[in-house]
C-alpha cells in the first residue's frame, strides 16, 4: 500500500464516520478527555442553535458563552463516565439562552484508545422537552378523569342512598333510582362531549326526550343560546329530570291531554338565566304536605350547586316552576 492509498483509506473512513455521526437524529458530541469538542453531529448544531466553527476544538463548558457549563453534566462526564464506562439516559434540565429550557437524556460512553493512555467520550443528547411536556399534560388529564369518575360514583352512591324506600316495592325503588341514574348518564355525556360546548336547548331536549313520545306533550319553546359548564349541566339535568318524572307520575304528563311548556330567557345583562316550566291540562295539583327527596333535590341542587333559586306554584291548571340561576362566570354565593 502506498501513501496515497493509505490517505484515501483514511479519508474514506473519516467521511464515513462523519456521515454516521450526521445521520444520527439526536445531537451527538465527541469529546476528548479534557471535554474539548472533537466532533459534533449536524443535529447538535441545529438543536442547540450553534455553529460548527464556534464548537469544534473548544471546551464543552465554553461553548455558546458558557451555556454548556452545567455542573451536573460536567460531574457526569468527568467523574461518573470514566469510572462506569457508560451512562445511559441520565436526565438533565437546563436553561439555554438560545434554545430555551430543555430536558435532555444524556447517554455517554468512554472510548479507550489502544495506543494512547487518553480516551474520548461519545455523548448523545436526546431532547425530551416536548415528550416530558406531553407526559405531564397526559398525567394531568388522567388525574382529572379519575377525579371526575370518582365524583360521579359519589353522586350515584348518594342517589341510591336517598331514593325513597319506605312504603315502596323494590321495583318502584329500582325505577326511581334508574331514572335519576339515567339523567346523570345523560348529563355526563353532554358535559364532556367531544364536540365541545353544550347549549341549554340541547340539554332540555335530551333530558325530556323520554317524555316526548306523544307529539304535543312536551313543548320546548325556542330561546336564546346559553352555553353551560359541566357543573351547571349536571345540576340542571338532575333538576329537569325530577320535574319531568314528577309530571309523569302526578302532573300534566300523567294524562293524555296534559302538556308541559318550557321556555327560558336571559335577564339582568345576561347574568341570570330564567327557566320556566309550565304544566297544563293535567289533574289539579296541590303542594305536597311534606317535601320528598325529588322536591328537595330540585330546590337544593338549584340553590346549593347553582347559587340560584326555584319558585314552584301549585295552581289549578298545573304546576309552574321557575328556576333562576346565575350564568356567565357569576360565582354562586353560598
Amino acid at each position: 500500500m502506498n501513501m496515497e492509498d493509505l490517505y484515501r483509506l483514511l479519508r474514506t473512513g473519516h467521511v464515513q464516520l462523519q456521515s454516521i455521526v450526521d445521520t444520527i437524529g439526536d445531537p451527538l458530541l465527541v469529546l476528548d478527555d479534557s471535554l474539548c469538542v472533537q466532533g459534533a453531529s449536524r443535529s447538535f448544531f441545529q438543536t442547540f442553535n450553534v455553529g460548527r466553527d464556534e464548537t469544534i476544538g473548544r471546551p464543552l463548558y465554553e461553548l455558546g458563552d458558557g451555556q454548556w457549563d452545567i455542573p451536573e453534566l460536567r460531574r457526569l462526564l468527568l467523574e461518573v463516565v470514566p469510572k462506569a464506562t457508560a451512562v445511559i439516559d441520565y436526565e438533565v434540565t437546563h436553561d439555554f439562552p438560545g434554545a430555551g429550557r430543555k430536558t435532555m437524556l444524556v447517554t455517554a460512553r468512554t472510548l479507550h484508545h489502544p495506543d494512547r493512555p487518553s480516551h474520548s467520550l461519545l455523548v448523545v443528547f436526546v431532547d425530551v422537552t416536548d415528550r416530558r411536556r406531553r407526559e405531564a399534560a397526559k398525567d394531568m388529564l388522567f388525574g382529572e378523569l379519575r377525579h371526575r369518575i370518582k365524583n360521579l360514583l359519589a353522586v350515584a352512591q348518594s342517589i341510591a342512598r336517598h331514593t325513597a324506600t319506605e312504603g315502596r316495592t323494590a321495583e318502584e325503588f329500582r325505577d326511581d333510582f334508574l331514572g335519576r341514574f339515567g339523567a346523570l348518564v345523560e348529563a355526563q355525556d353532554l358535559a364532556f362531549s367531544e364536540q365541545g360546548g353544550t347549549g341549554l336547548a340541547e340539554l332540555v331536549t335530551r333530558i325530556l326526550s323520554p317524555y316526548s313520545s306523544r307529539g304535543e306533550a312536551v313543548v320546548i319553546e325556542p330561546g336564546p343560546d346559553v352555553e353551560l359548564g359541566p357543573r351547571t349541566i349536571m345540576a340542571l339535568s338532575m333538576v329537569l329530570h325530577e320535574l319531568a318524572t314528577n309530571a309523569a307520575k302526578y302532573g300534566a304528563l300523567s294524562t293524555p291531554a296534559g302538556q308541559v311548556r318550557i321556555n327560558w330567557q336571559l335577564e339582568d345583562d345576561n347574568t341570570q338565566l330564567r327557566i320556566e316550566w309550565a304544566e297544563s291540562g293535567g289533574p289539579s295539583v296541590t303542594r305536597p304536605s311534606a317535601a320528598g327527596y325529588g322536591t328537595r333535590l330540585i330546590q337544593s341542587t338549584t340553590t346549593y350547586n347553582l347559587g340560584g333559586h326555584v319558585e314552584q306554584k301549585y295552581e289549578a291548571g298545573g304546576l309552574t316552576s321557575v328556576i333562576v340561576i346565575p350564568v356567565g362566570g357569576a360565582i354562586p354565593p353560598n
Binding site: 353522586v155 352512591q157 333535590l297 350547586n305 353560598n334
Partner: protein
C-alpha cells in the same frame, strides 16, 4: 362538625351518614366564604373538607382550621390533595370519594381522640 362540599348530593350523603352516627353537622358549606362564615359563629370539634370547590380550592378553610387547632380530614377523589389544595393538606387523612361510611367514622374518631 363542619362539612364543606360543593356538590349538594354528596354533601347530603355525608350529612346523612354523619347524623345517623350521632354527629351534629355544621353546614354543609359549598364555598370557602360559606365555610368561613360558619366558623365565625361556631367552633366545630372536627371538619371534613372537599378539596376542589367548583372554581376554588378549599385551602383558606384548611388554613383557618389549622390556626384554630381544629383537626380535619379531606374527602377527595384526588390521590394527592396537597397538589390541588396546597401544603396545608399534606399528611391530612383522606377518607376518599365516594366516601365509605366505616372509613369516614373511624377517621373522625381518631381525629377527635387525639
Amino acid at each position: 362538625m363542619l362539612v364543606v362540599e360543593d356538590e349538594f348530593l354528596i354533601a347530603m350523603d355525608l350529612q346523612l351518614i354523619l347524623e345517623a352516627a350521632g354527629w351534629r353537622v355544621l353546614g354543609p358549606a359549598a364555598t370557602v366564604r360559606g365555610a368561613l362564615l360558619l366558623l365565625d359563629d361556631e367552633m366545630p370539634s372536627v371538619a371534613l373538607l372537599d378539596v376542589n370547590l367548583g372554581n376554588e380550592p378549599v385551602t383558606a378553610v384548611a388554613e383557618a382550621l389549622s390556626a384554630l387547632n381544629i383537626p380535619f380530614a379531606v374527602a377527595s377523589a384526588y390521590d394527592d390533595p396537597e397538589r390541588f389544595g396546597g401544603e396545608v393538606l399534606a399528611g391530612v387523612p383522606n377518607v376518599g370519594k365516594p366516601t365509605g361510611r366505616r372509613r369516614l367514622l373511624a377517621t373522625l374518631e381518631q381525629l377527635t381522640e387525639a
